[in-house]
Amino acid sequence: MEPILSVANLRVDLKTPRGTLHAVRGISFDIAPGETLCLVGESGCGKSMTALSLMGLLPGSATRTSDTLTFEGRDLTRSMKELMRLRGNRMAMIFQEPMTALNPAYTIGDQLAEVHRHHKNSTAAEARERAIFLLEKVGITAAAERLSQYPHQLSGGLRQRVMIAMSLMCGPALLIADEPTTALDVTIQAQILRLLADLQRDLGVSILLITHDLGVVARVAHRVAVMYAGEIVESATAADLFRHPRHPYTRGLLASIPIPGRTPPGERLGSIPGTVPSLIGGVTGCAFRDRCGYAEPRCAEDVPWKSVGSQRWRCIHETLPAVAA
C-alpha cells in the first residue's frame, strides 16, 4: 500500500545563542494508512520537532530540510498555502498539554466549529452538528451543553477529548499526537489511549504517536521508531522491538524501567550511564557511543543500518556481544 506519509532524510536545525542545534538529524520513516507509528525517545531527542516540522509549525528560529516529505502524494514543502489547506483538515494534531492547548477566551463550541467552518465552508449549524457528533464519539455526555462551556471549566481528561474531537472535525487521514497522555493521570491515560485506538479502528486514520512511555508504545503501536539525539536508531514492529531490542540504547531503556512481575522489587535497575549529548555542533558516528557499554573506536565512523525482517537498527554490532556495561 502507498504510505500516507513519507519522510526521507528530514533535518531540523535551530538557531540558538550557543550555536546551531541539530534537533532532527536526517530521519526517514513512512506511515501506512490505518497504521499507528510510535516515535519514542527521551526528552529532547527531537520527537516534537519532527511532528511540528510535518505540520509546518516549527518556531521561527528553525529551518527544515528533507529529501522527501510527502503526504497523500503531495509535497508538503512546496507551498505554505497548500499546507494550510491540509492542516486541521487532512492532517491534524493533538498536543501534550490539554490544559493550555485550548484558547481560554472562547467556548469549546466556537473552537470546534471554527475549524470545520474554515475548511469545509459549512454553516454554523452544520459545524455545530458535527461538533456534537464528535464530542459524543469521544465519550463526552451532554455534548450539546458542553459546547457553551469554556476550556477552564473542563478537567484535563475532558479537554484532551475535546482536542481529539477537534482534530477529527474535518475527517483527517493522519493524526499526529505529541505525548497526548503524559500530562494525565494513569487512569485517564488508559481511557484516552483506548479511545484513540477505538477511533482508529472505526475511522481508519493513521496515527503518529509520540511518547516517551514504553508502556504506551507497547500497547498501542503497530510500528515503533526509537529516537536518540535527533536520529532514529531502531525501528521495528512493536512485537519485534520488545521481544528483541537490537540497539544498545533500546535495550538500556527497556532495562531501566521496573516491570511489575518481572523486575524484583528493591533490586537495582539497569541504567544508562552518562547524559544525552548536546545537539549543538556536528556529530559523526553513533551518538550513543559515549554511554554505550559496547562501544568501540569504530563507532565514531559512519554506522551502517542493520536489518532483520522489518526490524532495522543502526549499530556496528549485528548482535550484541556478551560484555555488559
Binding site: 505540520m55 509549525l57 518556531p59 521561527g60 494550510m84 489547506r85 491540509l86 492542516r87 486541521g88 483538515n89 491534524a92 494534531m93 498536543f95 498539554e97 493550555t100 492547548a101 485550548l102 484558547n103 481560554p104 477566551a105 472562547y106 467556548t107 471554527e114 475549524v115 474554515h118 475548511h119 469554556y150 477552564h152 471549566q153 482536542m163 477537534m166
Partner: protein
C-alpha cells in the same frame, strides 16, 4: 455578581475614604487654613475669628467627621479662593480633563496596539526595532518639552492649530498628542511582550495547527488574550493621566481639573484640593473596576469560575 459589585464598591469607598483622610490630615497639617481663609491683610484677631467661624479650632478628627458628613450629602464645601461651591466648580472642570485623558489614552492605544502587534509578529525585524526605538525615545522626552515643541511647530510656525483653550476639538489635538505619546510606549511594550508570549502559547499553536489564516490566528486567538494586561494598565494609566494632565493643562491653558488642582494647590484652597483628590481616587477605583469588567469579558476564566 452582586456580592462582587458590593465588594468593589466597598473597596472604592474605603480607598476614597483613606485618600480623603490622608489628604485631609496632610493638608491641614501643613498650613494654617485660617490664615489662608482670612486672606490678604487679615489681622491676628480676624484670623482667630475665622478659626472659630470655620470650626478650625476643633480637633482634626471632628473636622474630618464634619467634612465627611457634608460629603455624604454631596456637599464638598466652599472654595476658599473662588468663594463658590466646590462641587459645581469641580464638576464643571472635570469633563475637560476626562475628555483629555480619554482621548490621550485612545491616541496611545491606537498607535501602540498595531505597532506592538507588528513588533511581536516580526520580532527583531525593522518594525520591531522601530517600535523599540520609538518607545525608548518617547519615554526620554519630557512631555512639557514635547508640548512646547508642538506649539512652536503646529501653532506658531504652521498656524494649523490653536495654541491654547478648550472650546473646539482643535484645541484638544496637541494636548492629546503631548499627553498620549508619553504613555504609548508602555502600551507598546506590553502589547509586544503579551503578543510574543501568547503567540508562543499552546493554544495559538493549536489554532495554527487547525489551518487558520495568520490573520485570524493573530487577531482572533492571540490578541484577545494579549489584551488582558493592557486593559489593566489602561485603567492605571487613565488614572495617571487624570492627575498628570496638570502640566499639559497649564501649558495649553486647558481649563480642566488638572489646572484647577494646580491653582488650588498654589492658593492653598483646601476644600477644592480635597474634593479633587477624593473624586480622582474614586474615579481611579471606578476605572479599575471597569478594567476588571472588560477583562472578565475578554477572559472567561475571570468571568465564569
Amino acid at each position: 455578581m452582586l456580592a462582587y459589585a458590593l465588594k468593589r464598591l466597598g473597596l472604592a469607598l474605603l480607598v476614597a475614604l483613606t485618600v480623603s483622610a490622608l489628604a485631609f490630615v496632610a493638608l491641614r497639617a501643613s498650613g494654617d487654613a485660617a490664615i489662608a481663609i482670612a486672606g490678604e491683610g487679615a489681622r491676628a484677631e480676624d484670623i482667630e475669628n475665622v478659626r472659630k467661624m470655620y470650626g478650625l479650632d476643633r480637633p482634626l478628627i471632628v473636622q474630618y467627621g464634619d467634612w465627611l458628613g457634608k460629603l455624604a450629602r454631596g456637599d464638598f464645601g466652599e472654595s476658599l479662593f473662588f468663594k463658590t461651591d466646590v462641587r459645581p466648580l469641580v464638576l464643571e472642570k472635570l469633563p475637560t480633563t476626562l475628555y483629555l485623558a480619554f482621548f490621550s489614552l485612545l491616541f496611545a492605544l491606537v498607535i501602540s496596539i498595531p505597532l506592538g502587534i507588528l513588533a511581536a509578529v516580526y520580532p527583531n525585524s525593522w518594525v520591531d526595532r522601530l517600535c523599540l526605538s520609538l518607545a525608548v525615545l518617547g519615554q526620554a522626552m519630557p512631555n512639557f518639552f514635547f508640548a512646547l515643541i508642538l506649539i512652536m511647530v503646529f501653532a506658531v510656525t504652521l498656524r494649523w492649530l490653536p495654541v491654547s483653550g478648550s472650546d473646539t476639538w482643535a484645541h484638544f489635538v496637541m494636548p492629546t498628542i503631548a499627553l498620549g505619546y508619553y504613555i504609548a510606549p508602555a502600551f507598546m511594550r506590553l502589547v509586544r511582550a503579551g503578543m510574543i508570549e501568547v503567540l508562543a502559547s499552546d493554544y495559538v499553536r493549536t489554532a495554527r495547527a487547525k489551518g487558520l489564516s495568520p490573520r485570524s490566528v493573530i487577531l482572533k486567538h492571540a490578541l484577545r488574550n494579549a489584551l488582558v494586561p493592557v486593559v489593566a494598565l489602561a485603567a492605571v494609566q487613565l488614572g495617571f493621566l487624570l492627575g498628570g494632565s496638570v502640566v499639559i493643562e497649564t501649558i495649553f491653558a486647558l481649563d480642566g481639573a488638572g489646572f484647577l488642582a494646580y491653582q488650588s494647590i498654589t492658593h492653598k484652597d483646601l476644600p477644592v484640593m480635597q474634593a479633587l483628590l477624593t473624586m480622582l481616587s474614586f474615579i481611579y477605583v471606578g476605572l479599575t473596576l471597569i478594567a476588571d469588567l472588560i477583562n472578565a469579558w475578554l477572559d472567561p476564566r475571570i468571568r465564569v469560575g
